[in-house]
């Protein structure tokens, strides 16, 4: 009898434990933050702030929030809105912004963080991102952008497709494997956190807005966590080829026979090997690239530049190889010689992996050695399909 009673009681208690809904939170009770923008405080706004016991009004933090809209009725309206606040500690600002929102803020679906250049001129990347690195709500796949304008304007951008702005920004960056102008490999928050911890140089994609046009292209470079400058699309293309982070690429050259026409190579597959070599005191790298792809476009006259002619195709292959070499060297000039950065530890990592003893010797002076290390490039292009017909 006692056993039965205890059993009943146990069962009764279990119903409470297993019901499971005690801490449920409905979707419409959450305010999803899709994008975060970090700017310097340019002009004082009376309401969007609070009395601060410590620090100064250093940053303007803007959050892009998702507007919950049901059904397909609001197709022509923006799905997001932006609120902002000023202060120094991001965490303090986020909590103060609850006074501007009717639901608590959820960062678990945060897609992108946009940082304005003005902030990075003053502060290191690690200091700006500290809250996002430390907080448990932040995901490692959050995308990061740098803009030379104001980040808030980028958050306020409504894509013509009317999708939520933050999603648009993140999806756009995910196409980096096919868009050679975007330095988007290993730039998520998780990677950046790793690189910051390892004192590596960092590369972040650049985004610009002018009026109603938003575009990604080029990248911002960081020496450790200090912003040093931008690299243009061509330099990024060269760097991506050296680092083998491109999947597909479009490479253009003037036609070898008729230089006012362009011929375009579409990269399909490549085999890239970057190796360090040590000969006595000399340290150098070799980069061997084999590329397979198609002729994607021929601007000239097909009668004159006949791609059916194998000699002409061979001529093109050589010209493409030259162009790729030039591209990689241009990237090296900008990143290595001018900005003196080695983002994502591409070269340093190779030495450490292949020549650990040499690395031990050079690692302390690596910053001085790196800009002088030569790179020997050999490129082999093989054109598979020409897309011509007769």
């Amino acid at each position: 009898m006692d056993k039965k009673r205890i059993g009943c009681l146990l069962l009764f208690c279990l119903t409470f434990l297993t019901a499971g809904c005690w801490d449920r939170r409905e979707l419409q009770e959450r305010n999803f933050v899709l994008a975060v923008g970090i700017d310097v405080v340019d002009k004082f706004t009376p309401v969007e702030t609070f009395v601060q016991p410590h620090g100064e009004k250093r940053y303007r933090l803007s959050l892009q929030l998702l507007k919950p809209v049901s059904g397909g009725e609001a197709k022509d309206k923006s799905k997001t809105y932006v609120i902002s606040n000023t202060g120094e500690s991001m965490f303090e600002m986020v909590r103060d912004m609850l006074g501007q929102s009717s639901k608590s803020l959820w960062f678990e679906h945060l897609q992108v963080i946009v940082i304005s250049e003005a902030v990075l001129q003053e502060k290191g990347l690690g200091e700006v991102l500290d809250f996002f690195k430390r907080d448990s709500e932040m995901r490692s796949r959050i995308k990061l952008y740098v803009t030379s304008g104001t980040a808030k304007e980028i958050l306020e951008y409504v894509p013509p497709s009317k999708e939520a702005g933050g999603l648009h920004l993140a999806e756009s960056l995910r196409l980096h494997t096919r868009n050679i102008h975007v330095g988007g490999a290993r730039t998520d928050l998780g990677f950046i956190t790793q690189y910051l911890d390892n004192d590596a140089d960092i590369i972040l994609p650049r985004i610009e807005r002018a009026d109603k046009v938003l575009k990604i292209g080029g990248a911002a470079l960081f020496k450790k966590d200090k912003f040093v400058g931008y690299a243009d699309e061509y330099a990024i293309a060269g760097r991506k080829i050296a680092a083998a982070t491109e999947k597909s690429a479009i490479i253009t050259i003037p036609c070898p026979d008729h230089p006012n026409h362009q011929v375009v190579f579409e990269l399909f597959r490549h085999d890239t090997t970057l190796r360090p070599h040590v000969e006595g005191d000399r340290l150098y790298f070799t980069l061997d690239i084999t590329m397979y792809g198609n002729i994607g476009e021929l601007q000239g006259d097909v009668e004159l530049d006949n791609t059916m002619d194998s000699e002409y195709v061979q001529k093109l292959e050589i010209a493409f190889a030259e162009e790729i070499k030039r591209m990689v060297l241009y990237g090296e000039t900008v990143l290595k010689k001018q900005l003196k950065v080695d983002p994502i530890n591409l070269f340093a990592g190779k030495i450490r992996a292949y020549e650990p003893e040499t690395w031990e010797k050079v690692k302390d002076q690596w910053d001085e050695i790196y800009p002088e290390v030569p790179l020997l490039i050999s490129v082999n292009v093989s054109i598979r399909n020409i897309g011509s017909h007769r």
Binding site: T45, H54, P68, I83, S102, G124, D130, D135
Partner: protein, 410 residues
Amino acid sequence: MRALLMGCIGYKRLFGCVLIIGIALSISGCWDWREMEDRRIVLAVAIDKAEQGLGPGQGNAVTKVETFLQPYGSKRYRLSFQMLNITPSKEGASGPRGEVGTYIISNTGESLFEMIRDMLGQVGQSIWFEHVQTIIISEEVVKEGGLTPIVDYFRRDREMRWLTKILITSGEARPFLEYQPPSGEPSGMFIGNSLRLYRKNPHVPGWRTDVGDMAKSMDNKSRVLMARIELVDNVVKLGGMALFKKGEFIGYVDEYATKGGKFIGGIEKSAIITVECPKHPGEIIAFELFRHDTKLTPYVEGENIYYTLDIMMRGNLGETQCGQRHNIMDVREIHTIEELVAEEVKRNVFYTMHTYQNLKVDASVFGAKLQAHEPLVWEKVKDRWDDEVFPHVSLVVSVNVIIENIGEHK
């Protein structure tokens, strides 16, 4: 006939039949039904001075209509209601679903009840107050007539709910009703819900600021706290609070003092406490409070009354602005920060205490604690508590902070 009936069914059966018919009539239940669309639901109330709170483009002609001939009193207040528009949105004509339509009606007069009944002439159906979310009062009104006459109706009427939020603004109150939150909800609900986040936002009061709490405080002749809200250029924000004593407006206290007040009362659930980095001046380190144990105890020694406040806080390191330059992994560093946070909490508590004492308002629970622990002493001092005794009580604060997680990785 009668004989015929009795012959057929008998007295008892007849009685039973009548009973059944009678019950059927009385339990059908819908005799006093009122459909949703027959109600005019008020979401928010704004109280301004009569000459303020005009709608956009609203001239004197309209004001002349929005009133009535008053046998007694003056045109003192302007009462505005945000009404829920529950007519279904037509294809293309109205806003999308998810955006709830509202409109505003207003009236001027002195008695709130009189105005409300006169406003029935401005709406087609009767007005329902049971879903009022927010009441917003402009500072000018309370400065002129005090709080008591304004809120009397809300305390007395049975349609008013005790969990309605009541807020104060330094400007006009009506623009808050016109404000359209970007999320699409009506501003009355937006503001009410925003105030409910007070547990995570240390800068808003939100404890004991509902209409019911206010009514209780006024009955006990103690202070009233009211959250402050401001609107500039289509940006609405809550932060700080206003203090009232005996129905009189005493003043505002800022976010920092509000935060300290929450520490004293032990009502914060989560809070961000910032300290300046010991190694990098100007840079901030933020502590995120998770759990705390706060105890306020009064002590009486002869004439002298003092309090001890013991706070034990546990939480995480939320942010360091000095970032990479500062190695937080070191245990000694953590201890330094723990001590700094404790110092900061102490500083914050004293800041609040001095603010309250300067304003001569016991805006926390000091009086109540004395009443509970030392009822005899309380009886002696209660009449001069706020003005004479409270400004001179001392507070001994001891804070202990433990940082549990630092969120650091290597």
